[in-house]
């Protein structure tokens, strides 16, 4: 999802980022958050919908008829590295059953723990920041 699409204008890219961050947003809030006019906000939302980045459904919010905007996440844009812990792939790949307490998953989680050790600044020898 990190790769930004090339077919978006600057405003549209900014708007898409907002929708993705929020998970969902009413169009009546959307243009305010973007600091554009409601007309422009509506145009941006429509463009994003046409280009397949968001969905809009009719909604009523604070007494007003508006749209609820939600992101459409394309499979090929996902960050698949979230399946990895260290160099180990999710142990559920190729398995029918998911065993959340199994040894393979324990090892995967321990890889996760050691992948990104939290070193206190003093121990790491970094000068404390003021």
């Amino acid at each position: 999802m990190s790769a930004e699409a090339e077919d978006l204008s600057e405003d549209e890219a900014r708007a898409l980022e907002l929708v993705r961050e929020q998970g969902k947003i009413y169009q009546s809030e959307f243009w305010k958050a973007l600091d554009v006019s409601s007309r422009k906000g509506s145009r941006i939302a429509k463009k994003l919908e046409e280009k397949g980045y968001v969905e809009r459904e009719d909604a009523v919010h604070a007494g007003n008829t508006t749209y609820l905007i939600t992101p459409i996440i394309k499979d090929e844009e996902l960050d698949f590295s979230l399946l990895m812990a260290g160099d180990m792939l999710s142990p559920f790949v190729g398995e029918e059953e998911v065993d959340a307490r199994g040894d393979a998953f324990s090892q995967w989680i321990m890889n996760l723990v050691y992948e990104d050790p939290v070193i206190p600044e003093e121990e790491a020898g970094a000068p404390p920041e003021e």
Binding site: S81, L83, F92, V113
Partner: protein, 171 residues
């Protein structure tokens, strides 16, 4: 070769390797353009026909390849013509991300709801009840079981869960 960009992703490589195993990997790693027979693949990749077929059927089971059967007019034998469908890889990996997310949630609950004891000699972890049943001594080596924190684990699980939820648009 088709799907070159996709195959550059090391996670995709790992994924295919996990499905077909080391012997099937030459088949999975080099999907040809268009249709191909199992025999052509075996010859081209210098592999046993059985290994090629095994890999192809695993890919088929995972929606990553399809075949159609054609009868040879002279010999009367059936030929299988295979097509690779790696355009389905991203959807499969998304499903794996969703499965992983559910497993992490379940595991987080288990880690939070239990206290654990560790035999430092054998590196075996016991739940509180188990440890108590063993009188807080390792059933393997008899050394005392020590209380073991799991804050690191819960924290790592939390972080990855949050990243997955953001990525999958679950808020």
């Amino acid at each position: 070769m088709a799907f070159e960009g996709l195959l550059e992703d090391p996670v995709v490589q790992k994924y295919l390797h996990e499905l077909v195993g080391p012997k099937g990997m030459p088949v999975a790693a080099a999907p040809p353009d268009g249709e191909v027979t199992d025999e052509e693949l075996a010859e081209r990749l210098d592999l046993e026909l059985n290994d090629v077929r095994r890999a192809l059927f695993i890919l088929y089971e995972n929606d990553l390849a399809t075949y159609r059967r054609v009868r040879d007019e002279d010999s009367g034998w059936l030929t299988y013509l295979w097509t690779f469908h790696y355009e389905n890889v991203p959807a499969n990996l998304r499903e794996e991300m969703e499965r992983l997310r559910e497993a992490l949630e379940e595991r987080r609950e288990y880690e939070r709801d239990n206290e654990f004891y560790l035999c430092e000699v054998d590196s075996i972890r016991f739940e509180f009840d188990e440890a108590m049943d063993f009188g807080f001594e390792c059933p393997e080596c008899g050394s005392p079981l020590e209380a073991m924190g799991n804050d690191d684990m819960v924290e790592s699980i939390d972080e990855r869960l949050e990243a997955l939820e953001t990525e999958l648009g679950i808020v």
